[in-house]
Symmetry: C2
Subunit: 116 residues, 2 copies
DNA sequence: AAACTGTTCTAGTATTTATAGAACAGTTTG
DNA sequence: CAAACTGTTCTATAAATACTAGAACAGTTT
């Protein structure tokens, strides 16, 4: 499993890590029981700080997407399944929004707002 | 037209203003030619700074959602129409995500990530 | 002419983000 | 058991972002 980050992006690094895991989960590249790479490994290979990675992992834990215990690492829970099921619908919406010339941020904000 | 903001939220105030306008546009409560309330009015009624409101308006301008000129204010462009057209699809996706117990932030991040 | 609008400028404070290092406490592996 | 690995917690610091504040400016509308 690979986590990507763009240092030049305006979105915080920890948020990019979270988004990267979300994307993998939605695409079916993560199954319940899988283990995320250790925070020290991610920090080392991406050239970022351990605490930054852990902050991302802790957010994923708060979302219920992983279980975390020292010594074992971050284990994906069965909460990934809903993400994988939604993947098709999300892709369809994004495709339509794209033809309408909508920006990614705009659509994301719209979705978030509609939730309330 | 009413703009809402939650001071206790973790998302920046200017981003909340942008999201509020997005939501109104998507719900069909904004049409091309409509004028947003003046930045000074919004700042005054919400108890926030003029510059904070203007930052939000300038982002809406960068998205092409409004035209801004001094003296006239922020006028909604016909770029709102795509938003209104997507409203139904977004609501459907959100409804399904909700039954799956997905958090708003998670779905929004997922949508944003899928855009790439 | 007056009142209104966004624009631009400088300035300061508070919060968030990212980094750094160390020590701790469980789990797994040899 | 012992070693290596994992997340957890702590203090600290630097940098970037968000917000506020006040003033002056320059168009537009009434």
């Amino acid at each position: 499993m690979l986590i990507r980050v763009d240092p030049a992006s305006d979105t915080p690094i920890f948020a990019q890590i979270v988004a990267s895991v979300h994307a993998d989960a939605a695409a079916g590249r993560l199954a319940a029981g899988d283990r995320l790479p250790s925070a020290r490994d991610v920090a080392g290979s991406l050239g970022i700080n351990l605490h930054t990675v852990l902050r991302a992992y802790q957010q994923l834990r708060d979302e219920g997407l992983v279980d975390m215990r020292r010594g074992r690492g971050a284990i994906v829970t069965d909460a990934v399944e809903p993400l994988a099921h939604l993947h098709h619908d999300i892709a369809a919406l994004v495709a339509r929004a794209r033809t309408l010339g909508l920006a990614a941020d705009t659509l994301a904000a719209l979705v978030k707002e509609t939730y309330r």
